[in-house]
C-alpha cells in the first residue's frame, strides 16, 4: 500500500492544488456560495478516490510483488490485464529470455572447457607413458631424477583433471560400499614411491572386522592421496611414520591420518582450505600449488563427509574424515 500511495502522491498534490485554485478563483470572482463550492469539492474528491481504488485493484498484485521481500521469482502472468502489467510482463519476459540464453552459453562453454581439459590431459598421458617405458628399466642417477620429475607431472595432471571435473561433479559420481581397510591398504601400495621418497613408513591401527563406508571410490581416492602426499612431504627429516587409524564409532566412522611432521603455523591453519593458499610450509617446500587441500574440502563436502584438521607447529598434523553410518 505504501508504495502505491507514494507513487500517487504527486497526483494527489496536483489534484489538491487544482481544487484550491478553482475554489479561490470562484471565491474571489464573487461566487461565494459555500454549498455549491463544497459540492464541487466533494465530487472531485470522490472521483479521485474512485480512480485510485480502480488503479489499486488493477495493479494490487504488482505492488504486492514489488514489496514482497522474499519473492524473487517473476510471474508476469499473475499480474492481471492492466496495460502496465502487460507491458511489465512482456519486458521482463524478454530480459529473462536474454539472461537465460547467456546462462546457457556460459554453461555450454564450461562443458566444452571441461571436455577440452579432459581430452588434453589424456593426450598428455601417452607421451608420459612413452617416457615411462623408455626409462623404466634404468636406475642410473639421471633416470631416477627424470622419474621423479615424471611423477610430478603426473600428479599435476591429475590435479588439473580433478579440479576441472569438480565443476561437473553431479554428473560424475557413484556412491558405493567401500571396504575401508582394503581401500587404505591399496592406496598405500599405490603411493609407495611417495613414502619411500620422503622416507616415511605407514603404521596402521585398524579394527579386526571390515569397516564399510559409503562413498565414491575415485573421488575419495584422489582426496586421501592428496592428504597422504601433504603428510609425507611435511614429515621429511622430522618423522618417519604416518599413522592411519580407522575407528568405528556409534554414529559415524572415523578415518584418521596423523603425521608427526612440521605442523601448520596457527596463523595459516584456518586458510589451508582456501584455493591457491600455500602458507609458510608451501613456501618452504616449494611443491605446493595450494589446490590440494582446497579440492579435498570441496570433494568432501560434495560427498557429505565431514573433515577436521588439527595441527601443532613442530609436533604434527592430524587429518580426520568422518563417514556417516547408513
Amino acid at each position: 500500500m505504501s508504495l502505491f500511495l507514494k507513487s500517487h502522491l504527486p497526483l494527489l498534490l496536483i489534484t489538491f492544488l487544482q481544487g484550491s485554485f478553482i475554489f479561490s478563483y470562484y471565491w474571489f470572482l464573487g461566487f461565494q456560495e459555500m454549498n455549491h463550492l463544497l459540492y464541487v469539492f466533494i465530487i472531485q474528491v470522490l472521483a479521485m478516490i474512485l480512480y485510485l481504488t480502480y488503479r489499486w485493484l488493477q495493479d494490487i498484485k504488482i505492488y504486492r510483488w514489488l514489496q514482497d521481500e522474499e519473492s524473487t521469482e517473476f510471474d508476469g502472468s499473475s499480474f492481471g490485464k492492466s496495460p502496465l502489467a502487460e507491458a511489465l510482463y512482456e519486458k521482463q519476459h524478454r530480459v529473462s529470455k536474454e539472461y537465460e540464453n547467456k546462462l546457457h552459453q556460459v554453461q555450454a562453454d564450461l562443458n566444452d572447457r571441461v571436455t577440452f581439459i579432459n581430452q588434453w590431459v589424456h593426450q598428455m598421458k601417452t607421451p608420459l607413458s612413452v617416457i615411462h617405458l623408455m626409462t623404466q628399466d634404468e636406475d642410473e642417477e639421471i633416470f631416477q631424477g627424470i622419474r621423479k620429475e615424471l611423477y610430478r607431472i603426473e600428479d599435476g595432471l591429475k590435479t588439473v583433471l580433478y579440479s576441472s571435473r569438480l565443476s561437473l561433479f553431479e554428473k560424475d559420481y557413484t556412491i558405493e560400499k567401500v571396504p575401508l581397510q582394503d581401500f587404505i591398504n591399496k592406496l598405500i601400495i599405490e603411493n609407495k614411491r611417495l613414502f619411500i621418497q620422503y622416507k616415511v613408513s605407514p603404521k596402521k591401527f585398524f579394527p579386526g572386522e571390515t569397516v564399510y563406508v559409503y562413498s565414491d571410490t575415485k573421488w575419495l581416492q584422489f582426496s586421501v592421496t592428496q592428504i597422504i602426499s601433504n603428510a609425507v612431504k611435511y614429515s621429511t627429516n622430522k618423522s618417519d611414520t604416518l599413522e592411519f587409524r580407522i575407528d568405528k564409532q556409534k554414529t559415524r566412522i572415523l578415518l584418521e591420518i596423523k603425521d608427526f611432521g612440521v605442523g601448520i603455523p596457527s596463523e595459516d591453519i584456518r586458510r589451508v582450505f582456501e584455493p591457491y593458499f600455500t602458507g609458510a610450509n608451501g613456501r618452504l617446500y616449494h611443491e605446493s600449488t595450494g589446490m590440494g587441500l582446497y579440492l579435498v574440502k570441496e570433494i568432501m563436502s560434495k560427498l557429505q563427509h565431514a573433515i577436521n584438521l588439527e595441527s601443532t607447529p613442530g609436533k604434527g598434523t592430524t587429518f580426520q574424515i568422518y563417514f556417516s553410518v547408513q
Binding site: 598421458k125 601417452t126 623404466q136 628399466d137 609407495k192
Partner: protein, 232 residues
C-alpha cells in the same frame, strides 16, 4: 608361439610395446592401418588383442564390436581414460580387460599372460619354470632357491625379493628405491635402515658360496651385480 595384435596409434609407444612383448616369447603384429583393423585381425588371427580407445577414424569400442562378431579371443583395452564409465563401456563393448596409461611393462605382461593362460590353458608350455641366471649364479623364484654350481640354498622371503631383482638386472644399476618398492608390493614397509640390513644379509648369503663383493655399491645410485668368480 602366441600371436598378439597391437593397436596403438602413437608410434613410440607401439614400438616400445612391441619390442617388450617380443622378449616374453610372443609374436607381435602391430597394426598401422587404423581404417582396416578388422581386415588386419581376420588376416593375422591373433590370440590376443591390445586395443587403444582413441584411434583415428573409428574408436576402439567400435573395432571391439566388429572383432567380436568374428572371434572370442581376449581383447585388452589400453587407454589414458581412467573413468569408470569408459571402463564399463569397454567391457560392455566386448572387452575383457582394461589397462590405463601410464602403465608399467610388468603390468601389461602380467595381464597378457593371465589372459593367455585362462583362455588357452598353456601355462606350463609357454612359461616353464622361471630361472634367473647371472654368470652361473642362478635363482629360481618359484622355489625361492639360489644355486651356484652344485650347491644350492633356500632363502627367506625378503632375501628372495632382493635376489630376484638384483640378479635379473645384473650389471645394470639397481636403485634402492626399486628394491624398496618391490618389497612394499608385498606389504613389507621397509625403510632405508632395514634395507641396509637385508642387503648385508644377502651379501652374507653369497659368501656361503664363497662369492665375495658381488654386490657392488654405486654411489648415489644404488647397487650393481659384478661377476667376481670364474663363470661355470
Amino acid at each position: 608361439m602366441k600371436k598378439i595384435m597391437i593397436n596403438e596409434d602413437n608410434e613410440e609407444l607401439r614400438i616400445l610395446l612391441t619390442n617388450h612383448i617380443n622378449k616374453f616369447g610372443y609374436k607381435t603384429i602391430a597394426i598401422e592401418q587404423f581404417e582396416q583393423i578388422l581386415e588386419g585381425f581376420l588376416k593375422v588371427e591373433p590370440d590376443l588383442v591390445l586395443l587403444d580407445i582413441n584411434l583415428p577414424s573409428f574408436d576402439g569400442f567400435y573395432w571391439c564390436r566388429q572383432i567380436r562378431k568374428h572371434s572370442t579371443c581376449p581383447i585388452i583395452f589400453v587407454s589414458a581414460r581412467e573413468g569408470t564409465m569408459d571402463q564399463i563401456m569397454a567391457l560392455e563393448n566386448g572387452g575383457d580387460d582394461y589397462i590405463t596409461k601410464p602403465f608399467s611393462y610388468d603390468f601389461v605382461i602380467a595381464k597378457i599372460n593371465s589372459h593367455i593362460r585362462r583362455v588357452y590353458g598353456e601355462y606350463a608350455q609357454t612359461q616353464g619354470e622361471r630361472i634367473i641366471n647371472f654368470y652361473g649364479l642362478t635363482y629360481l623364484p618359484e622355489r625361492m632357491e639360489l644355486r651356484f654350481g652344485p650347491q644350492s640354498v633356500e632363502v627367506t622371503k625378503k632375501e628372495a625379493l632382493l635376489f630376484e631383482v638384483l640378479l635379473e638386472r645384473g650389471e645394470k644399476v639397481t636403485s634402492r628405491e626399486r628394491l624398496m618398492e618391490k618389497m612394499w608390493d608385498t606389504d613389507l614397509f621397509v625403510d632405508e635402515n632395514t634395507l641396509n640390513v637385508y642387503i648385508a644379509r644377502v651379501r652374507k648369503r653369497l659368501t656361503e658360496f664363497g662369492i665375495q663383493d658381488a654386490i657392488e655399491t654405486v654411489r648415489g645410485a644404488g647397487y650393481r651385480m659384478k661377476c667376481t668368480w670364474e663363470e661355470m
